[in-house]
């Protein structure tokens, strides 16, 4: 014969084992499946959209980008005034980047938020466009567009084609910077904000990591050729 306290305990156990724990397991399991399957399902959903959607194919992956770049301008030198070209707007594809000795050959986008970095290399809003004689900061994802950036050698050429001119840079040095370190900004700020045209390419490191990392692999490049741009009226 069960006492009252045993009955109460039995009732609590019933709640715990048959209601609360299954709900907890269900939620944890759901999160687990969601996280595991998202990378697999996303491409499938994209393929489904491509196959069955009425949307124009060309707009599916480019919904937030607008291209103002239509190939090589063949303008390798000279002087370009602000009113002689279209200054890119946020999200515009305005050029492309190729790095000698790597597989990097990707669109150059004005802006570098997460959605834009899925579509190419992003030029930071906090840096200048090529040709201004100042620092240019371009980032790309380590697992896509800038996957082979560490293969770039000092002395190799980097070509940046834009909607207003063709620029060539030579790699001066490479550097691994821990963005959590106290002097992180000091290691690139002079090149970014100085009065010399320096192209800074960077990506997350280690190159194959899927997890968040504070390390950035930087490639510093000096200008070799390209037109000068005046932005002042």
């Amino acid at each position: 014969m069960k006492t009252n306290s045993e009955k109460i305990r039995s009732k609590k156990d019933y709640r715990k084992y048959f209601i609360i724990l299954p709900i907890v397991f269900l939620l944890c399991g759901y999160i687990l499946f969601f996280v595991c399957l998202t990378p697999i399902l996303d491409p499938l959903i994209s393929v489904y959209s491509l196959a069955f959607s009425n949307t124009n194919v060309n707009t599916i992956d480019e919904s937030e980008t607008n291209s103002i770049f239509d190939g090589n301008t063949a303008v390798h030198d000279g002087y370009i005034n602000y009113d002689e070209f279209v200054f890119p707007s946020w999200g515009d594809i305005f050029g492309k980047v190729t790095v000698e000795g790597t597989e990097i050959d990707c669109p150059l986008i004005f802006g570098d938020d997460n959605s834009l970095l899925r579509r190419g290399a992003g030029l930071s809003f906090f840096s200048h466009i090529p040709g201004c004689g100042k620092g240019i900061l371009v980032g790309g994802h380590n697992n896509t567009y800038f996957h082979t950036l560490p293969e770039a050698q000092v002395g190799s050429l980097v070509r940046v084609e834009t909607n207003y001119g063709s620029f060539t840079y030579r790699i001066r040095e490479t550097k691994l910077i821990d963005m959590n370190s106290a002097d992180a900004r000091g290691q690139y700020a002079e090149d970014l904000n100085g009065d010399r045209e320096v192209l800074l390419l960077y990506t997350c490191y280690p190159i194959n990591t899927m997890a968040s990392t504070s390390l950035r692999y930087f490639v510093f490049c000096e200008k070799v050729s390209g037109p000068q741009v005046n932005l002042y009226e």
Partner: protein
């Protein structure tokens, strides 16, 4: 002085720097005046508080898309004056001071007011204290997004460098979830067996 970036100046700079394009334009006199104001106006205890050079680069990028008129300049200047007075009254010197003094909403209000001069709007997504996922979103008069900025741009330590790794830590979340499920299951099973044995 470390972390001299005053949040107000940064915030207003951010706002103004998000003003999108009306027409292709160079940097005119009014735009240069705004830049100079932001560089030099905020003086606290004899120190001029300013922001890193990349913020002024951002401002120049904006001025190349906007043709600021004298009337717009005067309106924005008046808002900057109010924001500056607010920052001085709160003695905001470091970035952390903004949250400590509960000034975030007020500063965002000034930003919205400055943007409204040109018909633009500011909205936020997520927590602005979350540097990786929080967002400041600027939209043009037609509602088109012209910039999405992660709030880590106000951190002087990392400056303009973005996160270029995986979009989320799938492996880590997956691992933690798996461990949580297994741990909970083993504890529950152990206890259940013990109680069954006792019965």
């Amino acid at each position: 002085m470390k972390k001299l970036a005053c949040l107000m100046v940064v915030a207003v700079l951010l706002v103004v720097s998000m003003i999108p394009a009306f027409a292709a334009a160079g940097i005119n006199d009014y735009e240069q005046k705004i830049t100079t104001y932001i560089k030099t106006a905020y003086v606290v205890d004899g120190w001029t508080i300013t922001v890193p050079g990349e913020y002024f680069t951002a401002l120049e990028n904006v001025w190349n898309k906007v043709d600021l008129t004298e009337a717009q300049y005067n309106q924005i200047k008046a808002i900057l004056d109010k924001a500056l007075a607010f920052c001085k009254s709160k003695h905001l010197v470091e970035v952390e001071d903004i949250t400590k003094t509960g000034s975030t909403d007020t500063l965002l209000g000034y930003i919205r007011e400055a943007l409204a001069v040109l018909g633009y709007t500011l909205s936020t997504q997520g927590s602005l204290t979350d540097a990786d996922h929080g967002l400041l979103i600027i939209a043009d008069p037609d509602g088109n997004v012209v910039a999405r900025l992660h709030p880590n741009v106000v951190k002087t330590k990392n400056g303009a460098v973005a996160k270029t790794g995986a979009d989320y830590t799938a492996a880590a979340v997956c691992g933690v979830s798996a461990v949580a499920v297994l741990a909970a299951a083993s504890v529950a099973l152990k206890k259940f067996r013990k109680e069954t044995d006792e019965d």
